[in-house]
């Protein structure tokens, strides 16, 4: 009962955020210098043609009316037409989105178990060689640029050894796994150390917590105390970081998608920016923003499920 009202309250809080997002993505187009109609029709269009198009697009109406029809269109799934591909932006996004989501999920499947394993080993051996080794690996992983690693991997495993394809997305689940392996690994090599450092610090901090001393005084075994008490309490801060990182990955998969020629959202974004495909940029902005909101919401609900204090 309590958790339902918590989710309800949390959903209500999202409404103003969504309105803000729609305002930003609406004014994004307004703020582009120059007249969109002239941009479409070209510099040599006649005054009549421009006026006709303005009327056709509704640009002669007051701004609030334009905003309302933008909201109406967005709610009905109409994000406009891509100027380059000449198909609805929504179709375009839906075509590219699954690939990026697949990549992000793939990264998480690789990075999360690695994170937990490394953080637990490091924390339980604080200051000793396994901890030092993991620290060195982490620093390397975080400092080596993803694009450099990508190029290196593509050349060695892709071209030289021929184990993995160096571009594209493939058909079917197994081929996706094969095609996206190198991109997922090179992203994980950066993400896992980041999360590991965070989780390791939390684990060490919680190991010193008073309730751990109390558990020891009760004679509970160390392994159980670690699993049931320390790990659970340590996961919470890392979970928040993970949320931020997933949102960042969805928007920030650009580099790895370009290097490995994965036709995902990042690649679409770069193409649209270079090609001044404004409605696609606007649509993608909206998608990114909504994805971030959705992930934050999911993390909050997840946190509330673990921590009874947050849902009150």
């Amino acid at each position: 009962m309590n958790s339902i009202s918590f989710i309800g309250r949390r959903l209500l809080q999202i409404v103003p955020v969504l309105i803000g997002i729609s305002l930003v993505s609406f004014f994004l187009i307004m703020m582009i210098p120059g007249d969109p109609v002239r941009m479409v029709l070209g510099p040599r269009a006649t005054e009549e043609a421009v006026t006709a198009m303005r009327q056709e697009w509704g640009l002669d109406r007051p701004i609030w009316a334009q905003y309302l029809s933008y909201i109406g269109n967005t709610l009905t799934g109409d994000l406009g037409q891509s100027l380059k591909f000449r198909i609805p932006v929504l179709d375009l996004v839906l075509q590219y989105l699954p690939r990026t989501l697949f990549l992000v999920a793939y990264v998480l499947v690789i990075a999360l178990p690695a994170t937990i394993l490394m953080a637990v080993i490091a924390a339980r051996n604080e200051g000793r060689w396994p901890d030092q080794l993991i620290r060195v690996i982490s620093i390397l992983g975080m400092t080596i640029p993803v694009f450099w690693l990508g190029v290196l991997f593509a050349r060695y495993f892709g071209v030289k050894l021929g184990w993995f394809p160096v571009s594209g997305y493939g058909d079917g689940f197994v081929e996706h796994l094969h095609h996206l392996f190198l991109p997922a690994v090179s992203t994980s090599l950066w993400l896992a150390p980041l999360l590991t450092r965070n989780l390791r610090a939390a684990l060490i901090e919680q190991t010193e917590a008073d309730y751990v001393a109390a558990s020891r005084a009760k004679g509970l075994p160390e392994g159980y105390i670690f699993r049931r008490h320390i790990l659970r309490n340590s996961v919470l801060p890392t979970l928040n970081l993970l949320g931020v990182m997933i949102a960042f990955l969805i928007g920030g998969s650009v580099v790895v998608e370009i290097v490995y020629a994965v036709p995902g959202l990042g690649a679409l974004m770069v193409g649209s920016v270079l090609g001044r495909d404004y409605f696609v940029i606007q649509g993608l902005t909206l998608v990114y923003a909504i994805a971030t909101v959705a992930i934050t919401l999911a993390i909050d609900i997840f946190t509330a499920a673990i921590d009874p204090r947050t849902s009150e």
Binding site: D210, A214, S215, A217
Partner: protein
């Protein structure tokens, strides 16, 4: 035959300046069924001794000497692990942090039963319910699935006791189990511990800084200082006939033994008047309101020391913050010399801020860690433009003399000062602007009793010398009784009663005040009652 025999225990911690001995050559015995008190001030090694018995010290600690439990030598981790929870258990000072926030209270109690006795989840749960009932948690069945944060401090301590006693250990180590609790709650917990000792013969070691608490329930006491046992014996002998000079000092510093510092005067004019003051906050989830303070009328007279007592949540600190205008009351008015404080602005407000100064509870946290004692004291003087920076620094040295801080401490930062010294800096800073009213909010509750006695003496002297009016906020009735001319008792945001200290203590007019007075631990009273 003693249950526990500690022989020549020493604990050393490494530090940058070489090893530091926290405990040196400590020996004592615990007979079955007795309650041993371990008393000492901060840094005396009393908690470390207790923790060493259960192997709860950090790995870097070096432990020497022997600890023998029931004929078994607790020499290594395996031997200690064998008795933890089963034979020896422990409860701690701060019950809130010693419960896992992500575990229900039923599970906290059931947990050791499953490990030590191999009970099934259902059996352990049934047993946990009985245990929670035995520590007198009301309506235990419905509390089984409650989370620690939903319980009050006293209830949390009861849960901790239930989970420590789940496997029927023979020895309970209690490390300051009531220090973080209100006096009436403390009385309940002490009663519970005493009953457990009588009914099931539970042997106990009670660590406390408070001789009043020790005197109430312990049979024997050992007095520790600087890591060493300096005196031990039956509580009565130690209290009535202390051998060591430090023990005498400690006993003399008990609030009940302090000289009477209050000297009520003939009703002078009022300085601060609260008229029907209310402070309401909206609740966090919205909707409701919290009545932090409601309908408070009181008058503080010029030159008196006015005590405000109450338990946590009684609104006493909120009243203080309202008077200094850190909080705007949602109803009623605060008057200072007949003028409404809320209407002050500009120069009048600045003057008011100078006239009313506050000293805070936590001596360390209320000082800027990056500033020296002298800078801290001088800051308000030059910030208020009362003197140049160099003149202010000079004046700060005089203020240090006034609060009896050696001038050689002028360049020290809070970290290099003790709690009592930090509090002196805090007082000097408050006096820097020559205030008329000083509000002291629990200024001695974080300090050792001997330091508390010094600070109280200092405040009494300053009060006379500077014609100060003092509002002294405290949870400690015994201190208030010695220190304040008049007292106001708060409960749940309301003023319960107010009156001259002597009258109020002699004949409290409400039941709540009577309970509070009865619950306040007092060494001499406890000894008298046990006779």
């Amino acid at each position: 035959m003693s249950l526990v025999s500690v022989q020549g225990l020493s604990v050393t911690f490494p530090s940058e300046k070489g090893p530091v001995a926290a405990v040196r050559n400590v020996s004592f015995d615990l007979k079955p069924g007795e309650i041993l008190g371990i008393v000492g001030e901060s840094g005396s090694g009393k908690s470390v001794t207790c923790r060493a018995l259960l192997g709860l010290l950090p790995r870097r600690a070096t432990i020497g000497g022997r600890m023998i439990y029931d004929g078994r030598d607790l020499s290594g981790p395996a031997e200690i692990q064998a008795v933890r929870g089963r034979e020896i258990s422990m409860i701690f000072q701060n019950p809130a942090s010693h419960l896992d926030p992500l575990m229900t209270i039923g599970d906290h109690v059931a947990e050791p039963l499953r490990f030590h006795f191999g009970l099934s989840a259902a059996e352990a749960r049934a047993e946990a319910l009985k245990l929670l009932e035995s520590v007198r948690i009301r309506d235990a069945a419905s509390r089984m699935d409650a989370w620690p944060h939903q319980l009050s401090g006293g209830m949390k301590q009861r849960v901790l006791i239930a989970s420590a006693l789940a496997c029927k250990p023979r020895l309970l180590l209690a490390d300051e189990p009531t220090t973080a609790l209100d006096v009436t709650v403390q009385a309940g917990i002490l009663q519970l511990l005493r009953d457990l000792n009588r009914e099931s013969g539970l042997t106990m070691a009670l660590v406390s800084h408070d001789l009043g608490v020790i005197a109430e329930i312990c049979d024997r006491v050992i007095v520790m200082r600087g890591g060493e046992v300096i005196e031990s014996g039956p509580v009565r002998d130690v209290v009535t006939n202390p051998q060591h000079e430090y023990t005498r000092l400690l006993i003399g510093a008990q609030p009940g033994r302090l000289p009477q510092m209050a000297e009520p005067q003939e009703a002078p004019a009022g300085l601060v008047d609260l008229k029907d003051v209310a402070v309401h906050f909206p609740t966090r989830s919205g909707g409701g309101i919290v009545r932090a303070v409601d309908g408070v009328n009181l008058s503080v007279r010029k030159g008196e020391c006015f005590g405000i007592v109450g338990e946590s949540g009684s609104g006493k600190s909120t009243v203080a913050r309202t008077i200094v205008r850190l909080i705007t009351p949602t109803g009623g008015r605060v008057m200072f010399e007949g003028k409404s404080v809320a209407d002050l602005s500009g120069a009048d407000l600045t003057a008011y801020r100078r006239a009313v100064q506050m000293v805070f509870q936590s001596p360390f946290d209320s000082l800027n860690p990056r500033m020296t004692a002298q800078q801290t004291i001088a800051e308000p003087i030059w910030r208020h433009g009362l003197a140049s920076k160099s003149a202010a620094m000079e004046r700060a040295l005089e203020l240090m003399d006034m609060v009896e801080l050696p001038r050689s401490f002028a360049t020290r930062r809070p970290r290099a000062l003790s709690g009592g010294q930090c509090q002196r800096v805090g007082i000097a800073r408050a006096l820097a602007l020559s205030p008329r009213l000083l509000i002291a909010d629990e200024v001695t509750s974080a300090l050792d009793v001997t330091v508390q006695a010094q600070i109280l003496r200092l405040l009494t002297r300053l009060r006379k010398e500077h014609d100060l009016t003092v509002i002294y906020i405290s949870h400690d009735l015994t201190v208030v009784r010695k220190f304040c001319d008049r007292v106001a008792v708060f409960q749940g945001g309301r003023l319960v009663e107010t009156g001259a200290t002597a009258d109020l203590f002699a004949s409290p007019s409400t039941e709540y005040t009577r309970d509070l007075i009865a619950a306040a631990p007092d060494m001499d009273q406890a000894m008298a009652e046990r006779a």
